[in-house]
Homo-oligomer: 373 residues x 4
């Protein structure tokens, strides 16, 4: 395997996680090429320099187009604000680069569709940052369902809550606008839940949505008054899956005390599986078998029996963390590149997640009507 | 306080709990009249005799009308199959008795409305068996919300799941029919959740429902084939509350591993409260206050600080049980009788719970449209 | 079965639970004689009258000896301060009564020995109030161990903590004295843990103890200064069991936040069982079997599969409470009387628990030496 | 800051974690010098080559003395079997290298003492691999205690259990020998618990120990019979702390279902703190303050309010993992080197942990006598 050049645009929360993942992935997993941290882009240049030095990049720039066109760069990571994803992704694909893009793909479904179309046309590997579905607890749940351990899956319930917009006194920002931020909790959090729901039960085919703005105005930072919050603090939807299952999903960015409560439960005809991201190394499983007096939900602690956990820690129950999920995501991308195939979730896969959240908003804005995705 | 004569119709799960509650309530709580276990009705008479002897009733009968018209009976408990509630309740009220009736009130909303009207006309005390809302953990949650501890309550999520109809191989019974059983999970379990939701946030004013039959046929007990399951195994609804809050509720009788998972969470602008019936002596509270580094959900174990816990056990954390909830329910009825006022939830209160579940079914059957309760 | 007359001495926390249990036991369980609440004793007489009326006793007295000698009384419950147990029990046995006595049996081991000897000599049924070992979760654990589900039990760890003496500012009382209260946490809480440990693994044969007084003085109630706390706030012991297992136990009455944290774990060569009294309807079981990827501790919710749960509630997971444990204890006593045999734990059984806690204190006072029980 | 050359001896579980930590630490934390992965040593050479390539080392060797004497190496990590630690550490210190050594320091206390003495003499930075005490949840607990949030800490209970030696059918290995493995569970797991206990309450001054061999023989791998297990599967000790607190600790390597259950609780005169490593991102805190009706243990989810969590993930509740703890450990070492001071726990600090576990074994082997550490 020859080495691959990595170019990263953005050095915020997600930018740093991409850098860390690329630094670690070969040492952890072994079966991927060496990744050279070739070029980092951020603005202003001084920031790029500081971060490039810290993260260990060879070169830095403040010109994202230069990065995308740099011949030493094979993979471009896009971790900028969501409104910039489309232009960067289209340019990177046009320049023949593999693209790793953070979620959600774009502010609008049309932009996401353009990205997916460009990805398909390019033939390059694309990957969207739905890191939670790489968790061995999650992939184990998928395997259990596929193996029929809970019978036929018939119902899904999921929630994903945080409290970063719970405080009524937080100042108004661009995040509250449809133009600059697009969807609210749905776009930031809800799409993660959709990635899990569809990972477990397959595509969602209809939605019926309900949105709620909990804090309808917020104080302007300059003290000059209050401005309107235009997008959802909380969203809930009734959904149906193509396989006949039904379910509901809900998300809030204003749920006090919830830090990353991305929880779900899958009801099957012979059992149930549940998961909670705030305890991401555990899976709860109930199976209709054996002595009733001994039946109960089992707390499965992930370990080497749940690959690729063992690549990180060979001892069970020792705990993976958030950054490890990003390393697994990078691994999925690099393996796909090595095998000249598409990873998952690529732009086409992720387009479905985006379609679901946009349809939920559309349904809610139409007063609550069931829409086909 | 003069003593009261108690007549009980039915000796199944609920009948026994009513008998136990009436035997215990004065000894536990003190501030209610003595209750005489006057007359028990069940069929056949031999069963009434056996149970009457066991429970400690003075007399037994197999004629419910005789019980209702017995002059020594002041309070009539109705714990028969739901289809019989209306006639018995109307007769008991007509006979000038106080009535304690199990939930749901009736098979149809029309019947429940007739019962509520008769109750109002009679002026007698009525009580419906929504025992979970008498739990000190629940009433403490109500007090916390009323006191503004979580700010303004803005969202509610609730679930109530059991697995008594989860097994696909269970034989078909009359419980699967609309005619004899009415609603499915909604009528058996969902109404409890509605009693809690409205207890915490006030009346529900609109619903948008979704029903699911998980096992659409079941084997006939005589092996002659399979028959159709006509009512809901699972139901979900988007709801709005009269106070402006929104929320969702869901219930399943086919949720493997769930035994009495009657859980809810109330999101407020300054905090959150959550509860799980399978751990009914605990309440989770998060409040936006103090040092962020010390913030977290508190597990409040109920104790004497949460009346009337201390009447049952003077030491905190020692655990109340299901039967204790029924004793509290009996207490609420007896106190109301003593004070010549209506207890809660009386027939008029409970009519709202019934209206909500019937509207959910109606909404779902109409394809998912928002209906006013 | 002919009815039995019940006489109760004491109307505090435990007295009330004895009364409630005797009122409920036949209605709940069915297979025991009717119990007449014949005579109640407390001081002053006015208190006995109030409580007798509330609890439903036929007669009251302020003379415990009169109660013991009353011909209509068949069973005497002793729920007075521990220092009075011995004289009352000896008198009751001498009068030919069955005796139900609260734990610990007495202030000193010598007194407990005298009680056990008298019980044996009398041939009457005796019962000591170790209610936690009647919990169906506990008896299920015993059955699992006896059936070899966790292989050979090899180690036990247990703790029982409350916080009723945690506050440094609580005033000094007689409870802090060796003369009037005897042992501290060991006598009040630790003996419960011993009853569970030995119930699960059999007799303890050696102990090596450590005592701790956390608040060595407390303010006198009259403000005149401070007085010494003479007995243990916290005790820990290394123990060995006659079956070869080893273990440790610890108890505190000054453990902030703990309300009834009576927890234990049994390590076996093929599995583990754990329990926590604050979640008394749950049992955790891990068995070395099946697919490693699906292994985990199961949370078993008690239900009808765990007798006699179903006599209280026929639906699983609906929760038993503290008072229900006392009803089970009363049932064990009444069944034994009906079958003319000894119940468990009778005075002879309980003497072992008392011996263990006294030996722990003795070991600690000797500086930490291993003593044979 | 000039860069530092890193030499790693050993590529097993711990070797890999050291490599990963050194690869990541500067990118994550920022405030440390660049670390060059200079030289890796393992045997045979082919293994070193494979791992060196995977981990990203510049060079490899199969000669540990060559590594120690390599002029480009500034820091030597020792992750070989415990019996080799002493010679390697002494040689590395003699060669003027900083040393990062895995725990336990050595097979015997004498060896550990020799290492600590050499470290002091050398003036080089030394660090022992007690990674759990770098967890922000742990350091937050330390801060809470130091700030008096739970009053005066008076009691400690701790346990650390795994099940890697629980299966009776596992073959005998050198790990069962005193000569090659030294202590059993105490040496492998118990020392971690001691590092936490003393981190929270200060030095332990006396111990009274109890050892248990659960599987006293194991089958020889070649099927030729069974051999003796010489060291502890399980150990328990009563301990006292120099500050006057008392407590107990226990550890098992044969505890079915436990994967890394490194749990503890600190009792204070005004509150309690508890922790469980299997949920390493949570801390439980109870404080005696406020309304009793709202009191309860809080589940504190670690986040940016608990440094250095925010360097890993800027959003709370997103979860750190085991590898992140090693990165924090590396950071502590590198900061100390940069500031020309000793990190913690260095060889002198860790010697106390080793002394405690060896004294526990010595006490147990003497039949259970209290020994001064």
């Amino acid at each position: 395997m020859t080495s691959l050049g990595f170019g990263l645009i953005g050095t915020g929360f997600m930018g740093k996680t991409h850098a860390m993942a690329m630094k670690s992935v070969r040492a952890i997993m072994g079966d991927v090429p060496e990744v050279r941290l070739e070029l980092l882009c951020d603005m202003p240049l001084a920031n790029a320099q500081t971060r490039g030095d810290q993260f260990g990049f060879d070169r830095v720039t403040d010109d994202w187009q230069a990065l995308i066109n740099d011949p030493a760069v094979d993979i471009v990571s896009i971790t900028t604000p969501n409104g910039m994803h489309r232009d960067m992704a289209l340019a990177a694909l046009a320049a023949g680069k593999h693209v790793w893009c953070e979620k959600p793909m774009a502010l609008t479904l049309a932009d996401a569709e353009a990205m997916a179309a460009a990805a398909t046309a390019s033939g390059k590997a694309t990957m969207v940052g739905y890191n939670y579905i790489h968790n061995p607890a999650f992939t184990h749940a998928k395997r259990l369902i596929a193996a029929g351990r809970i019978g036929k899956p018939v119902h899904f319930r999921g929630w994903v809550d945080e409290d970063y917009q719970a405080d009524p006194d937080l100042p108004w920002t661009w995040r509250a606008t449809l133009k600059d931020a697009g969807l609210g909790a749905l776009g930031d959090l809800g799409c993660h839940l959709v990635s899990m729901a569809t990972g477990l039960l397959g595509p969602i085919d209809t939605v019926l949505g309900d949105l709620q703005v909990i804090h309808d105005t917020r104080p302007l930072p300059d003290g000059s008054g209050r401005a309107t919050v235009e997008n959802d603090d909380l969203a809930t939807a009734l959904v149906t899956f193509a396989n006949g299952a039904r379910g509901s999903i809900s998300t809030s960015r204003s749920a006090w005390g919830r830090k990353n409560k991305l929880d779900w439960e899958v009801h099957g005809t012979q059992g149930m599986i549940t998961f909670s991201q705030e305890r991401m190394n555990e899976l709860q499983l109930y199976v209709n078998e054996g002595d009733k007096a001994e039946a109960g939900f089992r707390t499965i602690l992930t370990g080497p029996a749940h690959p690729p956990y063992g690549q990180f820690v060979p001892a069970p129950g020792h705990q993976l963390g958030f950054l490890d999920l990003k390393t697994m995501e990078a691994h999925a991308l690099l393996r796909a590149i090595a095998e000249d195939r598409q990873p998952s979730p690529n732009f086409a896969d992720a387009l479905h997640f985006e379609a679901v959240i946009h349809r939920i908003a559309e349904s809610a804005n139409a007063g609550g009507v069931r829409l086909t995705v």
